[in-house]
């Protein structure tokens, strides 16, 4: 079952690449939609049934197809599969510019496949392989299907994305190989149960440093975030959504699965530095958003700030912190997906996303888009009743009362910085609302969201509200796995 969910995406993608050149956009879109729906159904089934797969693949490397679902991966799997359907549906009414529709959709499906495989895998080396799968299709999405007006910027952004993340994943590979060498197994479940027992603290620190440095590029943690804004600015809407909502999650998920779970002793030594970097990221992202002129880039910087919260919560080391990080992860996935769908749509309508250009107020001409933008911004600044609230405030709480082995004063200072960051978030949210949403201008008119686009936006809005009002089910899903991870630490 679980293998079926994995195999349908690349199979359809390959078929589209090989045979889809002559097909028109509609047909390709329908086929991809069907594939992503099948993948969603299989993912739901896998989350409910929790099957396990374990068979050898490359014995020369000790590489195994070892797949499974647990409380940590289940929400991310559902998020990925659901957004996979959403991006394919969203692209239905807009044929991609810059290449064939089949190539575009096969890249989307391959990115989704890589992300699902990353979240499913239980083998450390296979995790690296799955992590790498998304690179080439995402690079094609950015360089071929990105912002049609600026080819040089596209090439630059795509190259940066691939080279930065490849650097990160190769560093992570070195860490994984060192970990496997020290622990004698690549099975993530066994590694998490052992929680670093039997590995000398020095080795743990080296391994944790390599893994954290590699994954921090993907997350991205300040100051390694410089690949993210250009990639977001130039990527097509569907690419931005996948990038923010799925690819960044692979970084934080990797931080939980690899350094935090397998070498907690080493990770604890790095945690203070990571907390500081997270807090700096929150402030940096917020400040950048206050002055940023490009709306898409602004949302990208706000992603940097949100990932700062996740990293801060992870660094706190407590079970609450881990829960906060996992919740904030999913919440950011939904919120950023919503924001990028809305902002991407606006950029397509406006022709650019420059905030200095005087435009019609969205409140007047496109109330649906305006409302969802406002709601997304409100959720991003952590307003109660919306998805962002729980993740951010739990993160601040976790940093205020961290695990006993963490430096209390430093983490409390970081918590204060994080609170300041939410004030900045309120500032930039109001700035965007003032520039884009309010006002009395009604020219030039833009079309409001309709049909599929509105459907996708409405679903995301609903998800943001539901996660905000009813955080219980998600927190319950992750709680046992989270306390098991933290409890196993020495």
């Amino acid at each position: 079952m679980i293998l079926l969910a994995l195999a349908v995406l690349p199979a359809v993608a390959l078929w589209l690449l090989a045979a889809g050149r002559g097909l028109d956009h509609r047909t390709v879109s329908t086929v991809s939609l069907a594939a992503s729906l099948v993948a969603l159904a299989c993912t739901v089934a896998a989350v409910v049934a929790r099957p396990e797969v374990d068979r050898p693949w490359v014995p020369a490397l000790g590489l195994r197809w070892q797949l499974g679902v647990d409380g940590i991966s289940a929400p991310l799997l559902l998020l990925t599969a659901a957004l996979g359907v959403a991006v394919v549906a969203h692209s239905r009414s807009r044929p991609p510019a810059g290449g064939t529709s089949s190539a575009f959709h096969s890249c989307l499906l391959l990115v989704e496949f890589g992300a699902l495989a990353t979240f499913l895998t239980r083998d450390a080396v296979l995790f690296f392989v799955a992590f790498e799968v998304v690179l080439v299709p995402m690079w094609v999405l950015i360089t071929r299907f990105g912002d049609a007006h600026r080819p040089a910027a596209r090439a630059d952004a795509g190259g940066r994305f691939v080279l930065y993340t490849a650097l990160g994943s190769t560093l992570m590979l070195i860490g994984i190989l060192a970990l496997v060498q020290a622990a004698g197994t690549a099975d993530l479940t066994i590694l998490a149960e052992a929680a670093g027992h039997g590995i000398p603290l020095h080795t743990q620190t080296v391994v944790a440093a390599l893994l954290t440095a590699g994954l921090a590029i993907k997350v991205p943690v300040w100051p390694l975030h410089t690949w993210l804004p250009p990639a977001h600015t130039t990527a097509p809407t569907a690419g931005s959504v996948l990038l923010a909502a799925v690819l960044l999650k692979m970084g934080t998920y990797g931080l939980v699965r690899l350094p935090l779970a397998t070498v907690p002793g080493g990770f604890a030594r790095l945690a203070p530095a990571l907390a500081v970097l997270g807090a700096v990221g929150i402030l940096w992202g917020g400040l950048a958003c206050l002055v940023e002129r490009d709306l898409k880039r602004l949302v990208a910087y706000s992603s940097v700030a949100h990932m700062g919260f996740v990293v801060l919560a992870l660094a706190a080391g407590s079970s609450t912190g881990l829960q906060a990080a996992l919740f904030a992860n999913v919440a950011h996935g939904v919120i950023s997906a919503l924001l990028f769908v809305v902002v991407g749509g606006l950029k397509e309508r406006w022709g650019s996303a420059d905030l200095e250009t005087a435009r019609a107020a969205l409140r007047e001409v496109a109330p649906r888009l305006g409302f969802s933008l406002l709601l997304g911004l409100a959720a991003a600044l952590g307003l109660p009743g919306l998805a962002g609230f729980w993740g951010e405030w739990l993160a601040v709480y976790a940093a205020w009362s961290p695990a006993p082995d963490r430096p209390l004063g430093l983490l409390r200072a970081c918590a204060v910085a994080a609170v300041l960051g939410t004030v900045l978030a309120a500032g930039y949210a109001l700035r965007v609302a003032r520039l884009v949403w309010s006002g009395a201008r009604t020219e030039p008119r833009v079309e409001d969201a309709r049909s599929v686009e509105w459907g996708v936006i409405a679903a995301l809005v609903a998800a943001v509200v539901v996660l905000g009002v009813l955080p219980g089910p998600l927190l319950a899903t992750t709680s046992s796995a989270a306390s098991a991870l933290v409890g196993a630490a020495p």
């Binding site: 690449l17 050149r21 693949w57 490359v58 014995p59 020369a60 490397l61 590489l63 810059g98 290449g99 190539a103 890589g114 080396v125 690296f128 392989v129 790498e132 799968v133 690179l135 080439v136 690079w139 094609v140 360089t143 071929r144 090439a155 190259g159 691939v162 080279l163 490849a166 650097l167 190769t170 560093l171 590979l173 070195i174 190989l177 060192a178 060498q181 080296v206």
Partner: protein, 544 residues
């Protein structure tokens, strides 16, 4: 069992088949000259025979190598000793030569396509089939107006096939040679035909490349012989065995001499593997000769050199001798220099030449860590690299052929096949060819979907990390990133939309028939690479 030496012809078949094939081709040519296709078929037969006889050896257990040429019982030393790694490298060398032979396949002399070219009177009425040599065009284009004609490589089909087979016999022999004498002879047998092949290109750059190759290989041979002599001094024996190493390491003075011997042997082989700082001949020889010959240098020759290196290092790795660490410096330097220079090349053959230098660094990198997994890791990496690079060369040959046979496009100033811009939009205009090249490039870069390259990269890094060689590992990380930049630069052109002028010309000029041998070569390597990307074990499992 005749005489004092026990000879088992079946075990020796991977060497005997290509060697016998080479002799047979020459005899055949003497009896019945001017029969091009027959020679090539004999070559294919000999190589297939060699491949099928090398497979059983590659599938054996590591502790149970195939041995022959053994002395009688009391002494019992065997001069031919092929474990699974040696057999897998023999397999790789034979397969690479098969692909090169297909790339060089003789085409019957066809008149130039009628509407195509008043300016390209391609040697009309030439009676014998000629070997198809795309590489000459790049250099001769300015000098001769018949640039599109593809003049035959000198020497004739029989000589070319015989040289290819002889070089392959040397490669398969050196992999299994345990005594210094056969090792040195086999190494030269693997090298000299390659020099001749480059020289037979006949153009001025080809001769220059051949001379440069000849000089460096003579020098390297001298260095290797000196190393071999020191080995004998240190160990008192002319064999590469654990026993010899153990005797040499027993006393510190002898151990130092052994270290010097290993350094010289590694330096001698470094020329052949084109490791920095012994790499200078590489771009010259690759770009001077024709593309198939460059493929031979990049695949068969590299496998032969690594096989020779494995023979030297195997007893040392078992004894844990520290001299091996010198390899780390060569590996780091090769990767860095090769990648950085590949980044600025515009000629695809030169790019592949510098990429070879960088990949050679990756190949020898695991050898720097003295661990039991080092040698199989290097072997697995070289096989994965050879497969991908052969595919890339095959596509370069085909793209060059398409442009050569479309002089209308040439006439409009479209750059010929020796520039990366010729590949713009290849995925759109010729999807299968573009997909094949794309797979080869991502495999060389070590990115999915080129899982084979990715797995090989993991395999090569494993012993380095296990041995705790952190500086080398970090250099490798940086080079993995630069390498991705190198290959993506080319890959990016594939996915771009084709140039409107080029596509119009392609539509206007009827597509010339592609050389069937090169098509077969690309199909063979393409399918092999695609299959092994799904199941990398098929390649990486061979090395034991």
């Amino acid at each position: 069992m005749t005489g004092p030496l026990a000879i088992d012809a079946a075990v020796l078949a991977p060497v005997l088949a290509p060697a016998g094939g080479a002799l047979f081709v020459l005899v055949l040519d003497a009896i019945a000259p001017r029969r091009g296709a027959v020679h090539a078929w004999v070559g294919v037969l000999a190589l297939v025979l060699g491949i099928s006889s090398a497979v059983p050896g590659a599938l054996r257990a590591p502790g149970n190598p195939l041995r022959t040429l053994c002395l009688p019982a009391p002494d019992g030393a065997c001069f031919y000793d092929a474990g699974p790694l040696a057999s897998a490298l023999q397999l790789g060398a034979l397969f690479s030569t098969l692909v090169v032979l297909l790339l060089l396949w003789p085409v019957p002399p066809v008149p130039t396509p009628a509407p195509a070219a008043p300016a390209a009177p391609a040697a009309p009425g030439q009676p014998s089939p000629r070997f198809w040599v795309p590489g000459r065009r790049g250099s001769a284009a300015s000098a001769h107006p018949i640039a599109g004609g593809g003049a035959p490589m000198r020497g004739g089909p029989a000589v070319l096939v015989a040289l290819l087979l002889a070089g392959t016999a040397g490669a398969t022999a050196v992999a299994a040679a345990t005594d210094l004498g056969s090792w040195l002879v086999a190494l030269e047998l693997a090298t000299l035909p390659a020099i001749a092949l480059v020289a037979l290109g006949g153009t001025r750059p080809a001769i220059e490349g051949a001379v440069s190759l000849l000089l460096t290989s003579l020098l390297s041979f001298a260095v290797a012989v000196l190393g071999a002599a020191l080995w004998v001094v240190a160990s008192g024996e002319a064999v590469f065995t654990t026993g010899a190493v153990a005797r040499a390491t027993a006393t510190p003075e002898r151990s130092a001499v052994l270290g010097l011997a290993v350094l010289l042997l590694v330096a001698g082989l470094g020329f052949k593997l084109s490791l920095v700082p012994f790499h200078a001949w590489t771009p010259q020889a690759y770009a001077g000769g024709s593309e198939p010959v460059a493929a031979f240098l990049a695949a068969t020759s590299k496998i032969a050199a690594l096989a020779a290196l494995v023979v030297v290092l195997r007893p040392l790795a078992e004894a844990g001798h520290a001299a091996v660490v010198a390899v780390a410096v060569l590996a780091a330097a090769s990767m860095t220099v090769g990648n950085v220079l590949a980044l600025v090349q515009d000629d695809p053959v030169r790019l592949l030449a510098w990429s070879t230098v960088a990949q050679a660094g990756w190949v020898v990198m695991p050898l720097a860590a003295v661990r039991p997994t080092s040698l199989p890791a290097a072997g697995g990496y070289v096989l994965a690299y050879a497969l991908a690079t052969l595919l890339a060369f095959g596509v370069v040959v085909l793209v060059g052929a398409g442009l050569r046979d479309a002089p209308a496009a040439l006439g409009r100033g479209v750059p010929h096949g020796r520039s990366l811009t010729a590949y713009r939009g290849l995925l759109r205009t010729r999807p299968l060819l573009g997909a094949a090249l794309g797979l080869a490039l991502v495999s060389l870069a070590g990115l999915p979907p080129g899982i084979l390259g990715l797995a090989a990269k993991v395999l090569a890094l494993q012993p380095v990390v296990a041995a705790g060689l952190w500086p080398l590992a970090l250099v490798a990380v940086a080079n993995a990133v630069v390498g991705i930049a190198v290959y993506l630069r080319w890959f990016a052109l594939l996915v771009q939309p084709p140039e409107p002028v080029a596509s119009a010309a392609a539509v206007a000029a009827p597509a010339a028939p592609a050389p069937p041998g090169a098509v077969a070569a690309v199909a063979l390597t393409g399918i092999a690479l695609a299959v092994t990307c799904i199941a990398p074990q098929l390649v990486l499992g061979l090395v034991g």
